[in-house]
Amino acid sequence: MTLKKFAVTFALGSVGLLTTGATVSTAQSHVNSPDPLLGTPSIATETSNIDGITGHAESGKHLYRRFCIGCHGPDGNGQGMNAQWIDPQPRDFTEATFKCRSTPTGTLPTDEDLYNAITRGFVTTNMPSWRPLSPQQRADLVAFIKTWSPRWAKEKPGTSLNIPPETAITIESILHGRELFQKLECWKCHGPEGHADGPSAATLTDSKGNPIKPFNFSTGDRFMCGDSNRDLYRIFMTGLDGSPMPSFADVIQPNDAWDLVHFLRTLQVALPNQELTLWQSYKAAHGKDLKPIGPDSAGGAQ
């Protein structure tokens, strides 16, 4: 009998807890309902669709409050409590400007782009990989992030870039990529050796006027938006919106873009890769014939 009374007490107490919890949850069951800890999103509700998973902004709101608010802020504008100590600054979701996209510059990213960014994290920033969250949770976060900007209600995401099959990795491809690196003046920011020490590097700012550093290839770090050759191809064909890194989609052809990818890989001296091996063999034999990259090599680096 005593056990029964313990059980009754436990059950009643639990019911009391859950009733209260349900009341609170119900009161906060709409994305736009007043939540003193969060600002008012621009869009009432949103969903996301990633590989058959439907994300819900309502669920994402709770996750945002738990995981994201410290940096991205209660208003989604990147002004969370920790933002003042973070470099680079957290993303301002109210602008709906995202670096990592598969879509043309100036357009909204796809849900999958945002999902991939959350999953991957950004290795050279404070944004960690959120892979420990379930795919559903990440999809929910994508849906909620989209509520911060009215752009999501007015515009559709751009069309994802069609990436052609990668061309063969040859010394000719690498040499042509090197020419493009010189011609497109990539070295001005990334430096002749990819050390992020080009003459413009110290002057770069993002779209909010915050100082920003170009990517340093020599460290072997993962790229901002992935680590594969396809990711690298995508980065300079779509650009990193909000940063000084432009899109080269209108400037170079796909085959040229692959050549540039192959050359950029040779700058990753701390990361063993096929292109680097090929390039080092070539340099050992023909290094003297190579013109240095930089202002004195106008018209071609070879």
Partner: protein, 491 residues
């Protein structure tokens, strides 16, 4: 109210009256009302989040790693399993960033009231005992203090150092270990060396109850009455652990090889001075768990992550000692015991359920105090066994408000002597609590903690050690209640 409360706690009156049920629920609801969500929200919490130690290093809110601190969520579990690394370039060792000071302090000033029935007392005006009554203590108090430090000494070499004091500032090393992470570039091989909490799926070191009776899992410290076994599954142990996990820590395993001395140092069975000498033997702990995502109804976002796991602890304890001049030197004549069980961490949206079942078995000699294993057992001696567990529930209104409830029950399966009352030592307990985190600033956290816990132990003192240590009416129930309010803070 207190008079009625005392009356209700009469050891001879085992009835649980309806008003007590009402009182329990009322306490809970009052706590919730006092911690009104809107009022909580009026504080500046929403604009700022908490960061002691690691959070300070990474610029993440404390709720990123904790369901409600100190309990870890899966993101925090992955971070811990990776050797306190997020696996990005912010994982710099502690010597790389001079502004990073990897230390957190934690302490909890509190008010609490402890009532324990069926206690042997002196008859008033005498010093000869003979009376039975209820001991009640109440007042303001302090918890011990944790001075918690952790970080990475080098890429993939992490450490924890946790000197911890009792309320009177007697210190010991609660945890102190170095961990070699991601050996051979795989998360499946990590080695920890030192003193640490064994890899239990439901951590007692990170749970949310603080009161005297509610602040421990009864089953984690239970031994059949009269047993000389001092093992507690919730106690930190000393040794080496091989552990591994999948990339998202959904699959986890660990194998620990531990000294058979209850985490003791300096070859004793205690981390504080004065412990009995230990022996030369070793224990093994095995743990495995698997998590998965539970899909929800169509059109909804799923129930959350569900984790289930199993564990086994196989150990031994001495039944006698080598001596000099009658003083114990080294434990010998070891006899084995084991604890096996399974546990879960189940989610249904904002509700988290933590079930655990454990079965314990000791060698018959461990149940016979003072009988070395090289002498015959007394008549009626048998292997002490017990079984039981708990079901704990957390409801997260949001990262800053969590309601808690727990039901525990332990039954002795077999007493050390077959003539012993079968129910001796049985435990039934309920605990309720509410934690409100009004402040989660970037360098500090504060949680208001309100709890009520009620434990019934048959013929034995409660695990909380409340009371005077002597049961008044042998074999009768001892009720021990805790009412607790504390302000838990760290920075």
């Amino acid at each position: 109210m207190s008079k009625k409360f005392r009356e209700g706690a009469d050891p001879m009156n085992t009835k649980w009256s309806r008003w007590k049920t009402v009182l329990t629920c009322a306490f809970l609801l009052i706590a919730i009302a006092l911690c009104d969500i809107r009022t909580a929200s009026a504080l500046p919490t929403g604009k700022v989040m908490a960061i002691p130690a690691f959070a300070r290093k990474y610029g993440l809110p404390c709720s990123a790693c904790h369901t409600a601190w100190p309990e870890l969520n899966n993101f925090g579990q992955v971070f811990r399993d990776n050797g306190y690394q997020l696996m990005n370039d912010r994982d710099s060792p502690i010597w790389q960033n001079p502004s990073y000071f990897p230390i957190t302090f934690r302490i909890t000033p509190s008010w609490h009231r402890e009532t324990t029935t069926n206690q042997a007392l002196d008859v008033p005006g005498t010093i000869t005992g003979g009376a039975v009554g209820t001991l009640t203590q109440a007042g303001f108090d302090l918890s011990g203090m944790d001075l918690w430090s952790g970080g990475t000494l080098y890429k993939n070499i992490s450490f924890i150092l946790l000197p911890s004091s009792d309320p009177t500032a007697v210190w010991h090393f609660e945890s102190a270990f170095i961990r070699f992470d991601n050996l051979w570039h795989t998360p499946w091989l990590n080695v920890k060396f030192g003193r640490f909490e064994i890899d239990n799926l439901i951590s007692e070191k990170r749970f949310l109850f603080l009161s005297s009776n509610g602040g421990l899992y009864q089953i984690y410290h239970f031994n059949v009455p009269g047993s000389i076994n001092d093992f507690g599954y919730g106690d930190n142990q000393i040794g080496v652990e091989l552990a591994g996990h999948s990339a998202n820590s959904y699959t986890r395993y660990s194998v620990s090889f531990l000294s058979s001395n209850e985490g003791g140092v300096n070859f004793t069975n205690s981390v504080t001075p004065g412990g009995a000498p230990s022996n030369r033997s070793y224990d093994v702990n095995l743990a495995f768990s698997q998590a998965f995502n539970a899909p929800g109804p169509p059109g909804e976002s799923g129930f959350g992550q569900e984790r289930i796991g199993a564990f086994a602890y196989i150990g031994q304890r001495p039944t006698s000692f080598e001596t000099l001049n009658g003083n114990d030197l080294v434990g010998i004549d070891n006899k084995p015991f084991y604890r096996i069980g399974f546990a879960g961490d189940l989610s249904y949206k904002n509700l988290e359920l933590l079930p655990l079942f454990m079965y314990g078995h000791d060698n018959p000699y461990l149940g016979q105090f003072g009988v070395p294993s090289n002498t015959p057992l007394p008549a009626g001696a048998q292997a002490p066994t017990f079984y039981g567990g708990f079901l704990e529930a957390h409801y997260y209104f949001n990262p800053q408000n969590v309601a808690l409830a727990r039901f525990e029950q332990i039954k002795v399966g077999q007493q050390a002597l077959n003539t012993t009352q079968g129910s001796l030592g049985n435990i039934t307990a309920v605990s309720f609590g509410y934690r409100w985190y009004p402040i989660m600033f970037s360098r500090a956290g504060v949680a208001l903690d309100g709890e009520f816990s009620r434990v019934r132990t048959i013929g034995a003192e409660p695990e909380s050690a409340d009371g005077d240590g002597t049961v008044g009416v042998p074999g009768a129930a001892v009720w021990s209640n805790s009412i607790y309010f504390g302000i838990d803070f760290d920075f």
